[in-house]
């Protein structure tokens, strides 16, 4: 009977919250716009490779070449491996249009031009580039970048990796020629000294949205319980309506439950919107089991409810609640691998990430949605989320009850 009352009361509180919410047009519009903005925003501010175009880049070729002595006619010729590199860069660039290439004299010139904002980056091919390569040493190339643009330097690195890889082929050809005296022209096929190939583990092309969509779903759910809940309760406390519930002969539990329910429904609506946007607008392909994804989404909510209730209990006013939420939310947002893979972060930050439940929610959701994983692959994440939620709830509920009768 008592449980029936708790459920009935929380249902009506949830009903009240949702009716109130649906009557505010602005809030309903925001409910839809927020995920849309978030999705398109992250797509543009965290650029993938193809978003870089026409960056002015200068090449300073200081290569002096490799001298080859021909004992037959006692002459010597120079081989310029740097030419191969440059033509490879040009070739790749013609296809991608990433750079606008020009040439420069040396490092000093590149530096000056970057400082004048004429260049985004420079590539310096050192004097001994050919010599090193031909003698079987590693040929290296210096990339000078505008430090305010780290994304470009990452892209340049990928690009140069590819071209140096291609040069490996040239070296192979030259060595064959030298060893067996076979002319370049007669060579039909050759084996490269090394070869790199990328292959995804699921069908279809992956893009950044594929990576970021599960993260944003987890983030949105976290926000709706962690910020929505303290906000809803401390707002009602500030305007005085909470007293109406506290004075009624209902369990304090009904109040939290009703509020959590309302926030969860709002969170789920947003998650569904993100889901739909990801699939229909941003071409994300969903691999995993939808039911498992939904279960995971609910577990995510569960794991954050306790934290939300705790913040509510400690915040005497709405303003305090907002400040506490923001302080907790930002590290979670950026350290939990929602926008960047955790593996990209320095080691100590990766340790921090391990203590944030959002990390597990994001990882698990990504595994299920993008990689099509089943329960066996995410049992660890599931356990962590369940434990985190349970422990925090066990702490939060008594604290909340006490805080309500100060």
């Amino acid at each position: 009977m008592k449980l029936k009352n708790v459920i009935s009361h929380s249902f009506w509180i949830c009903w009240k919250d949702l009716v109130e919410f649906s009557r505010s047009k602005m809030r309903v519009i925001m409910l839809v716009l927020m995920p849309l903005f978030m999705m398109s925003m992250v797509g543009f501010i965290f650029p993938s490779n193809n978003t870089i175009s026409n960056q002015p880049v200068a090449i300073a070729n200081m290569d002096t070449g490799y001298e080859v002595h021909n004992p037959v006619n006692n002459t010597s010729t120079h081989i310029y491996m740097s030419q191969t590199l440059i033509s490879q860069i040009e070739y790749v660039n013609n296809q991608t249009g990433m750079m606008k290439l020009s040439s420069a004299k040396d490092f000093e010139e590149i530096k000056a031009r970057i400082q004048n904002s004429e260049l985004s980056a420079g590539i310096i091919i050192p004097e001994n580039f050919s010599t090193n390569l031909m003698q079987g040493k590693q040929g290296y190339v210096q990339i000078v970048t505008d430090q305010s643009n780290p994304q470009l330097s990452a892209t340049m690195q990928i690009l140069l990796d590819k071209t140096i890889n291609a040069i490996g082929t040239q070296v192979a050809m030259y060595n064959l020629n030298k060893t067996y005296n076979i002319s370049f022209n007669y060579t039909i096929a050759y084996v490269k000294p090394y070869n790199v190939e990328y292959r995804g583990i699921v069908e279809g092309n992956t893009n950044y949205f594929q990576f970021v969509a599960p993260g944003i779903i987890a983030l949105t759910l976290m926000m709706s319980v962690m910020t929505g809940l303290p906000h809803a309760i401390s707002y009602e406390r500030d305007v005085g309506t909470l007293d109406g519930m506290l004075i009624a002969p209902i369990s304090r539990l009904s109040i939290i439950l009703g509020k959590v329910l309302a926030q969860t429904i709002r969170g789920l609506i947003q998650a569904a919107i993100i889901f739909a946007l990801a699939v229909f607008l941003f071409g994300v392909t969903i691999q995993g089991n939808i039911l498992l994804a939904i279960a995971l989404i609910l577990l995510t909510v569960y794991s954050f409810v306790g934290l939300g209730i705790l913040i509510t209990s400690f915040s005497d006013r709405e303003e305090t609640a907002t400040m506490v939420m923001m302080t907790l939310m930002f590290p979670m947002m950026f350290l939990s691998g929602v926008f960047f893979p955790i593996q990209q972060m320095p080691d100590y930050m990766q340790v921090v990430a391990k203590f944030l439940p959002l990390t597990y929610a994001t990882t698990a959701l990504r595994k299920v949605m993008v990689l099509g994983a089943d329960v066996s692959a995410i049992w660890f994440e599931l356990t962590v989320l369940l434990a985190f939620g349970t422990v925090l709830l066990a702490i939060a509920v008594p604290v909340f009850k006490k805080a309500m009768t100060r």
Partner: protein
């Protein structure tokens, strides 16, 4: 029978004593007034009695139940009209009332009947499905009061129920409070800083200052505290003469005479039938009386008498100018 019994109730916040060992009883069906300036501890006392905050010391029984150990049972029997409105602007009057009906476990059929009856009671039937946000402050407060009555509580707590209302709504709400008390026999505790309100509505008044009850009695008895049985009358006599004045001063029933301007006399008298005797003396000297006023002491005088301070000064320091003005206005409505 006492519906509310308060014994040495005390509330401290971080060393500051908001309510300091107060004790009082409220009889069933009575309206008890807690009168005092802002910050005197009225609201804190109310919140303790409503189980919204726990007392630091002392105890109280509401409807026969202890407010700390039996708080859940207390909640079954009380309704609250707080200083801030307990209702949601985005919801209609019906939805607001329905929510609270549901929280008090009213079944659907009973709930609808009850809501209709209550809306009729405050003559707001036609506003049933309109959003509360579109209502005037006075209309909102009416809904707020019937919201507190949705489960027919034996005891109703009213914390500054006319705060911020326009003069007309103030009259209406006071009328509503009196009607509920008379027709339904609801016991009430009302806090106010408006003297007239306490005087009009309350059977008994506790004057509270700095967390203590400094006086507790009926309104006439409290006024006697100030006057000590002395009555003050003000006469306006255009042809006031010095002979007339000296004879009045010489009367045995007259305590003191103060002449204000050339034509005004403030006469303080003691005893029965002093007014007749005064009239005779004035007539004998051919005096014409243009106006006469009986200056009864107000609860304001009682407060000054007891604390040595005025109440409005205290009020002024805590509120914005607009709100103060409205309070002042509502305080003057008779």
């Amino acid at each position: 029978m006492n519906e509310i019994e308060v014994r040495n109730l005390t509330k401290k916040f971080n060393g500051f004593t908001a309510v300091d060992h107060i004790s009082f009883d409220v009889k069933k069906g009575a309206i008890f007034g807690l009168l005092g300036p802002n910050g005197a501890g009225k609201s804190t006392t109310m919140r303790m009695l409503c189980t919204l905050t726990k007392p630091t010391e002392g105890s109280a029984k509401v409807a026969g139940y202890d407010i700390v150990s039996e708080d859940a049972k207390v909640r079954d029997h009380i309704g609250l009209v707080a200083e801030k409105l307990i209702m949601y602007n985005e919801l209609t009057a019906w939805e607001n009332l329905k929510l609270y009906g549901k929280l008090y476990n009213l079944p659907d059929d009973k709930l609808e009947k009850r809501v209709d009856k209550l809306l009729k009671y405050v003559r707001m039937e036609k506003w049933k499905n309109a959003r509360v946000g579109t209502f005037s402050t006075g209309m909102k407060q009416k809904i707020n009061v019937i919201r507190a009555m949705i489960h027919e509580p034996e005891i109703l707590f009213l914390d500054e129920p006319t705060l911020g209302l326009d003069p007309q709504s103030t009259v209406e709400i006071r009328e509503l409070i009196r009607r509920i008390n008379l027709e339904l026999g609801t016991t009430m505790i009302l806090t106010t800083h408006i003297m007239v309100e306490a005087d009009m509505l309350c059977n008994r008044i506790g004057i509270i200052d700095k967390g203590r009850i400094v006086a507790l009695d009926t309104s006439p008895n409290l006024k006697k505290l100030v006057s000590g049985g002395v009555q003050t009358m003000e006469f306006e006599i255009p042809n006031l003469s010095s002979e007339m004045l000296s004879e009045i001063k010489g009367m045995s029933s007259v305590v003191s005479v103060v002449q204000e301007k050339d034509t005004h006399l403030k006469v303080r008298t003691r005893g029965e039938n002093t007014f007749d005797a005064l009239l005779e003396v004035i007539r004998k000297h051919g005096g014409k009386i243009r106006t006469v006023r009986n200056l009864e002491p107000t609860l304001e005088d009682v407060f000054i008498h007891l604390t040595g301070r005025e109440m409005r000064e205290e009020t002024a320091s805590k509120n914005s100018a607009g709100r103060r003005h409205r309070r002042f206005m509502s305080g003057r409505v008779r």
